[in-house]
Amino acid sequence: MTLQHCDSSQLPELKITRKGIPTHRNMAAEAGEDEVLEFKWGKQRGVGGRKKGVRFYESFTFDGVYYALFDSVFLFKEGESVPYIGKLVKIWETPDKSKKVKILWYFRPSEIRNFLEGTVTQYNELFLASGEGPGLTNVCPLESIAGKCNVVCISNDSRNPYPSDKELQMAEFVFYRFFDVGKRMIVDKIDDMIAGVEVKNIFNNLDSQKPVGLVKHDLERKEVSGNVTTSNEVVALMSQKTSQPLIVKPDSKSCDSLVRENAVSQLMLGKTHIPSVGVKENGVSKASLVKAKSSTKLSYGSGAGLEMRNMAKTDVECGNGSIEKNNLRDRADSKKDDLNDVGVLDGQNSKGIVGEKVLEKDKRGGFSKVSSAKVNSNTQNRRLITYDDDDDDNNLKSVAPSSKDKYKHPRAKDSCVEEGPSKKLKIDKKPTNNLFELCKKDSCVEEGPSEKLKIVKKPTNLSKSWKEDSRVEEGPSKKFKIDKKPTNLTKSCKESSSVPSNMEHKLDFHAKEVTRKPDVDKSKWFKAVPWEEKMKNAYELGKLVLLENLDPSLSSSEVQDIIMDGFKESCTAKMIQKTAYSSPHSGQAFVIFRRKETAELVIRKLEEGCFLMSNGRPLVGSIGVPCFPEKKPIFHGHHVVDQLRLMQMQREMKDAVSTSHCSQPNNIEYDMAIEWCVLQERGDKLWKMLYQQQGEELSRLKVKLKSQI
């Protein structure tokens, strides 16, 4: 039953658009075959609204997670690599039984990069929407909520109860500044209301309840794992899956510390044996983690893990057992070919893991053995890669045939997944973590670099199957691994914050989070400010510079690069589009700098110095004075006899067509048209001659350049 449940929740076809056109997730159609996602309304607030019959609520339980008003939540939108984050400010059910939530948005710095104006942001900082305008709030279907998000307000505002250190540590995101969606700028202070919500609801007092909620989930989960120890194996596997990532976390941490201490097997042992080490490790890993953001998540996750441990030792043990099991399995896989001693273990593992779980638990002592064996077997890692394609698969099949459908899901979801990886994908939950672990361990052990690379490649494949991209592929370095690990951790931490059934779904978005490309401006949902407007503003603020003598074939982004190169200044550039009259010798571009001073500095530098580009082009800069279209543009050459003008206009208005036709050579229109053609030709000649002459002048000078770059 639990598995089925899982199934139905795995396909998060949630579509919210921030522009306010939410598309409903058809729960009935999706989940109807098996069962509907768990949902329960909480306390009712009132009935009313414009039409009677709208019920407002203060809380609800969705998919096993309790949400209350003013909670922060993740909202997943298909096609977005990262989930949106928002605050529930209103919850209601319409008369036609659709559940709605009003979301007050948080912005990630990347979403509003264009408006940051050089503001330095923290890695996990969010900006709460304020002011008035599109992007402040949206009404979304309740089903688009993908999970709870722990956002803590660290504003020094007197109205804001400052969070405790623990809360801060647990926070996935913090915020203390606001983004005015109307003015499109960052503001530090807010008035008493945002989008009709009182400020006290925006600050911490309510947010602080969230960690409690989290703990609760942990408890829930714990219960599940409690089942593990006692009840049947399928469930055990399930919960193991859920609990395992959690436990893997401390694992990885100890791996990190492994790196440092080089005491591989011993520490490994220590890690599994002494769960309380987690806290310390936590700090360590934080320091060692490259990506700070994920590190907090990590710590948070591990905190949760810890809690869980402390609360139920037995569970922990069981969990440990499962880790071991997984480790064993992976290791065993790698070793299958060569290490006979371990082969015994291995066989057991792959064939009857479920049955063996108890065994393994007992075998914890043997764990060290295995791990040291693993050290030996590191040379076989390459094989591991080829191997576990099918092996894991087999394992899985043999281990938990019933859980297979669950695994199938990711595959169905990611249609782009290639064959090989998809297999891995199926088992991704465990192997991913384990592999990362593995590769970390491996790198601790310091094999040949090629070996390492191979290992890294494995996660890459995996991650590819998760639609991750270049970033992952780019850096198969240790850093990257560490980097990646936390993302898994976050994943698992998120998982831990909800019931198992939600897992895959969460996983999905997490994989996506890794996809985030740092260069992409995510502000696309804000209708991009039209260039004209930007240019006009910049012109008025003196930030606009006209560059001349560029290679006309350059693209705008290349111009930006050139400026970056020459002046170490970032800017927004736009090449001026060529027309029939533009010079073939000199391309022009408007460039908007961040500040007026910068623009002036650039112009002065260009004036005094010489910035030579390819083909002997010195860049020329001047204050940009764009030409703005006139309200009533004059156009010569279209004549209407005055008396007829009115009539024609009426007709055009009425028919709403504008005529166009070829002229026939039997009327006066044709004659006049020919006159225009003659003029056009003459003009063309003139331009051609002009540019030819200019070209000659230029080449005469360019010859004098000694060595061209």
Binding site: M613, F635, H636, G637, T659, M672
Partner: protein, 198 residues
């Protein structure tokens, strides 16, 4: 790299099937262009080129993407042969092949390396570069001047044509009114001619 090369190739194809129109009246809108060209080819997209630096009274220009390069060629040759009017007479529009630099969203040319460097004032090239800069400025002034000249020429022609048109209109109106105001009858009587008033 491969993808950017592909992207670039796709862009080149797009350029191939795009026609550049200028001498467009400000009244021409996308729908006007679409209806005007629908008789020859399927219009895929229309983009007007903004005029950011030229004199503000320059006629509009637009890029019209058609369904194939062949169609683009046909349209260009057709409009080259007959004066083609859009939203007014008698100034015809002009069509040409589009060029890459006309596109706003052109991708980077793959495999291009841009080099640039600051020159030391002691560098022998420094003076030359300075001269080049001045020349560039001079050229852009020249261009502005020619734009102005061209606009003046256009205005002159337009004026002249308007005068002609007025004269023609007067003439036609007179001929048209010859029956109405009995001039024809008067003349007929004078010359002893019989006209039937039908």
């Amino acid at each position: 790299m491969g993808s950017s090369a592909e992207e670039y190739a796709a862009f080149e194809q797009r350029v191939g099937r795009t026609v550049y129109f200028d001498n467009l009246s400000p009244q021409v809108t996308e729908s006007v262009l679409r209806t005007a060209l629908d008789q020859f080819a399927t219009v895929k997209s229309v983009k007007f080129l903004p005029n950011y630096i030229g004199p503000s009274n320059l006629p509009q220009c637009a890029l019209v993407e058609l369904d194939s390069a062949k169609k683009a060629k046909e349209v260009i040759s057709m409009i080259g042969q007959y004066p083609f009017m859009m939203s007014g007479m008698p100034r015809p529009v002009r069509a040409r092949h589009a060029e890459m630099e006309m596109f706003d969203d052109r991708p980077r040319k793959p495999n291009r390396k841009i080099k640039c460097s600051w020159l030391e004032p002691s560098d022998p090239n420094f003076q030359v570069a300075k001269e080049l800069k001045n020349l560039t400025r001079k050229h852009s002034l020249e261009i502005q001047f020619v734009h102005k000249l061209q606009l003046e020429e256009e205005e002159k022609l337009a004026k002249q044509q308007e005068d002609t048109l007025k004269v023609h209109y007067k003439k036609f109106k007179m001929i048209d009114g010859i029956m109405a105001d009995k001039t024809a009858h008067r003349l007929a009587r004078k010359y002893n001619l019989r006209i039937t008033d039908e």
